[in-house]
Symmetry: C2
Subunit: 139 residues, 2 copies
DNA sequence: GTGTTTGCAAAGTGTTTGCAATTTA
DNA sequence: TAAATTGCAAACACTTTGCAAACAC
């Protein structure tokens, strides 16, 4: 017999962040977190789920992505004004983005260094520094 | 009498970048480029134009913003997945962004330094490096 | 005059919402 | 059973497009 409680870790993880481990959330969490870090849009995750035989509505995909983001197990990446990308890597890191193809790729966090950021405007504080290295196919 | 050819510079500038200096383009260019650098959305520029008594449709605002961007006299800034911001400052520089209020502000280019960017993926080259310093009101 | 630009209204995207039916605990 | 979650369809916000009328040269 194969592993007895294959989803136990995922279930616990969802519980830990205060989300009921429903069938949909479990299935989506498995797609997102089993394996390497990934970057997905709602549409991508939806069709992937359908292909995998998971019955989920697009509305639930959006809800889930936002719930996961609020819970801190996903992070939103703003690179394209028309699409919202979500990143399963929530550590500090930055991105390569190929505008032509919509391809998003991590740059490991330790490599890029941002220095000499001036003090933020009065009454505000820094929540995050995002570096986006925009790329084009070499002609 | 006040300045005799107040728009002459703007007319020339549009001609230089290959755009006919139509009434609408001229008026929008004046709103955008007379004065300090600014960050606008289509909606902001549209209502500003109407307030200033300039009759322009929203469709023309969008067309014009994109034409100006293609012509290199505007630059698009991606910070918010729901809104497209345009920046009249086309020099190399980065941004402060207050998510709560949608406020976008330049960081002078020379101050921020980004180092140790790894080589981009095979077959691509860097077009631009964007740094977005996200802020929140200090509670 | 000829080609460009404009404005309208309609169509398109991607995303969010209201609410009844379902599921979880 | 009580509270949370889901799915659908309708509503949304922002942006783009098609095409006839208006304009620049």
């Amino acid at each position: 017999m194969e592993g007895a409680r294959p989803f136990a870790g995922t279930i616990e993880r969802l519980r830990e962040v205060g989300l009921r481990p429903t069938r949909q959330r479990l299935a989506l969490a498995r797609l997102l977190f089993d394996g390497a870090d990934r970057h997905v849009t709602a549409e991508m995750l939806h069709s992937e789920a359908l292909t995998a035989g998971i019955k989920v509505s697009l509305a639930t995909i959006y809800n889930t992505l936002h719930q996961f983001t609020r819970a801190g197990i996903l992070r939103q990446v703003v690179v394209d004004p028309t699409r919202a990308y979500f990143d399963t890597n929530t550590d500090e890191h930055h991105h390569f983005f190929v505008e032509a193809s919509g391809t998003l790729e991590d740059i490991p966090g330790e490599r890029v260094r941002v220095t000499d950021i001036p003090a933020p405007p009065e009454g505000t504080e820094i929540t995050r520094v995002d570096v986006i290295v925009r790329l084009k196919p070499r002609g």
